[in-house]
C-alpha cells in the first residue's frame, strides 16, 4: 500500500507494479484508476487518511487475495487532488482472469465502504466535508 501527498503519478505506479511482477507468472493484471471529475464547481477533492487502520484493512485484503492465489495493490493520495488527476489506483494480479475480475470489484467496493479515508470538496480554496457522499463504516453508531 502506498500513500502520496497530492495527485498520483498513475503511469509510473503501474509501470513499477508491472515491472515488480514481470516474472511472477501472473496471467491477469486488472488496474482501476479513480480520476477527479470536474463537477459542482470544485477545483479539487481533498483527503484525510488514518493510516494505521487503513494498513490493517489492506493487510486483511492481501491475506484474502493470497488465499485465492492473487495479490492486491493500491495507492491513494493525501491532501488536495486537482480535477482531471488521480486520487486512487488499485490493481489485482492473479494467475487467471476470473479471480482478478471478481477481486477487483470486491476490493474497490469494500474500499469505498470501509477504508478510513475522508473526502472534502475544495471550492474557492475551502475544504467542505463530502458528508452526503460518505458511508458510515461497519459498526457505526456504537456510541450513540
Amino acid at each position: 500500500m502506498e500513500l502520496y501527498h497530492g495527485p498520483l503519478d498513475v503511469k509510473s505506479i503501474f509501470n513499477r507494479w508491472l515491472d515488480e511482477h514481470a516474472a511472477s507468472n501472473y496471467g491477469a493484471f486488472i488496474p482501476f484508476v479513480g480520476i477527479i471529475r470536474e463537477e459542482d464547481d470544485i477545483e479539487a477533492l481533498s483527503f484525510d487518511i488514518y493510516e494505521p487502520i487503513l494498513q490493517k484493512w489492506f493487510d486483511a485484503w492481501q491475506e484474502k487475495a493470497m488465499q485465492r492465489g492473487a495479490i492486491v495493490k493500491m495507492a491513494h493520495a493525501i491532501g488536495d487532488v486537482p480535477v482531471h488527476t488521480s486520487s486512487y489506483v488499485s490493481a489485482v494480479f492473479s494467475p487467471k482472469r476470473r479471480v482478478a475480475l471478481e477481486l477487483i470489484e470486491e476490493f474497490v467496493e469494500d474500499f469505498k465502504a470501509n477504508a478510513p479515508i475522508w473526502k472534502y470538496d475544495v471550492k474557492k480554496g475551502k475544504r467542505i466535508y463530502a458528508g452526503d457522499r460518505s458511508t458510515p463504516m461497519e459498526g457505526a453508531g456504537l456510541l450513540k
Binding site: 478510513p116 473526502k119 460518505s134 456510541l143
Partner: protein, 73 residues
Amino acid sequence: MITVEFLGPIGKAPIQIEAKTLADVSAKLKEDAALKEWLDKCAVAVNDTMVSDLSAPLNEGDRVSILPPVCGG
C-alpha cells in the same frame, strides 16, 4: 485515563477521560452537544482495532478513535 481522538472532519482535538468501558465513553461524549450528531454515524476503534462491543473493558492508556463516515477514492 484513556485518550479519545476524533478523526477526519469532526475537527476536535483529542481529549483524556476516565472510562472503564466504551459505554462510559459514550456517556461522556454525549455531554458535548456538538459531538452528539456525529455519534449516530461514527464507528469506533480501540488501539487501532475496530470494535463492536460497548462493554469490553478499557485499560489505562488505551486510545479510542472515533471514525466518521468515509469516502475514499
